[in-house]
Symmetry: none
Subunit: 251 residues, 2 copies
């Protein structure tokens, strides 16, 4: 039984990971990414507004991973690509004005391993030249930073994918999480968390809370808090229920 | 003194590593290798009988790592390329008739780290299609195997280099015990978190939110959420500020 549980859990990790490429310019990088994924046993690829796809160059560079390209989903926004995900980790090279929790690739793989028990997890890679926008990074629960040399920190896209896929595979192989993290309630997914943040934003506007603070920064901080807090569905519903009750009282 | 010794040791690692590519067919892979190395702070490249070098394709793919290509040494045999090395680790995909000690990339990086105290260490990568010959593998102290999916184990050459270079860099960084977790705001202490929970309790009572749910359980869930969320002082103040504003509006 013990072994079986491990097996189920392990299978969950590789099957639960979705690699998301946002705004990729060079189709060769999409092909090289598919190959890097398949080498590590990860098969689910999502593309957000790729410049050129499908593409012969991508197919050529993917070598024996053409099946990944054929099954890849294409989306118009990152939000759409990750809507069903329990956990979203975004790659980030730059420091942010409002810092997000930053993990190294190994820690990120650990977090994804834990969350894979509950559902789908996404690892998001940005554009070759500009990475992810602040808005896109705000959709992530954690950021991951590859500890490259500060003198030359810009990795090729597929190389960054390779490192993360490698760490995910190591986590899968080592299966160090014999203790399943038990939780009584499902964690809120991306969409539910977004609805909660929007609801709080709405309420803050209604009571003119924004007047007293720098509005943009305030919402970014609320967003960061809820994104990293691993709030569960019932807790999210308590906040939303309270907010709705307050809104009714105010009218 | 202790710190200085460590520093010397660390510097030794990145400066002591020589990446050796044997019989590379595609010059693009040589360029991508140079970039992967430089991203991790490794600068010494040796080429054994490359099919085409120097090459415009290699230069283009190397991006900002052209200096590595310019300084790369070219050799007629692996034995010549590694002649001054203390330790030689060879990448190997296949099991050998006579098994060699096989390390995973992390263990290989550790071995290289140790040997770098004494002198130069080499990590050797074979031909794209056939890897290293038995004779070449016999020149190595250890073999290293990247734990790829057995269903599709053949990594692109520069991706294999990236993984090894990444592990070498991690070994180097761990030695310097960097990566203090940076956060812009102090985390809320116990008292501050308690005040936040009490404030939310108070508000929930004022708007009769408790009528609609099991009251005790509800507050326990709010408590559990804020307690485990690692909320920081500014975030706690945002919630408390909002709660106070709402309370004022309601009166």
């Amino acid at each position: 039984m013990h072994v079986d549980e491990k097996k189920i859990k392990s299978d969950n990790l590789l099957n639960s990971v979705k690699v998301v490429l946002v705004g990729t310019t060079h189709p060769g990088n999409i092909g090289a990414t598919a190959r890097a994924m398949k080498n590590m046993g990860i098969l689910d690829l999502a593309l957000v507004e790729p410049k050129e796809f499908p593409s012969d160059v991508a197919t050529f560079r993917s070598k024996a991973a053409k099946d990944i390209l054929e099954k890849a989903s294409v989306h118009r926004s990152l939000a759409e690509a990750i809507s069903e995900c329990e956990l979203v980790v975004g790659t980030s090279a730059r420091g942010r004005t409002v810092p997000w929790p930053v993990l190294n690739p190994r820690e990120a793989a650990e977090e994804m391993h834990k969350s894979s028990l509950n559902g789908k997890v996404a690892i998001v890679f940005g554009r070759e030249d500009r990475g992810l926008t602040n808005e896109e990074l705000g959709l992530c629960n954690f950021h991951v930073h590859i500890p490259s040399d500060p003198e030359y920190s810009s990795l090729n896209l597929s190389q960054a994918v390779q490192i993360l896929a490698y760490e995910i595979r190591l986590s899968y192989l080592q299966d160090r999480h014999v203790n399943k993290e038990y939780w009584d309630v499902e964690l809120a997914n991306n969409e539910q968390t977004e609805r909660l943040i929007n609801h709080m934003d709405e309420l803050m506007q209604e009571v003119d809370f924004y007047d007293v603070e720098n509005p943009r920064k305030l919402l970014v901080r609320v967003r960061r808090f809820f994104k990293r807090s691993k709030i569960d569905v019932m807790e999210a519903n308590i906040f939303r229920g309270l907010f709705a009750t307050i809104q009714k009282k105010l009218k």
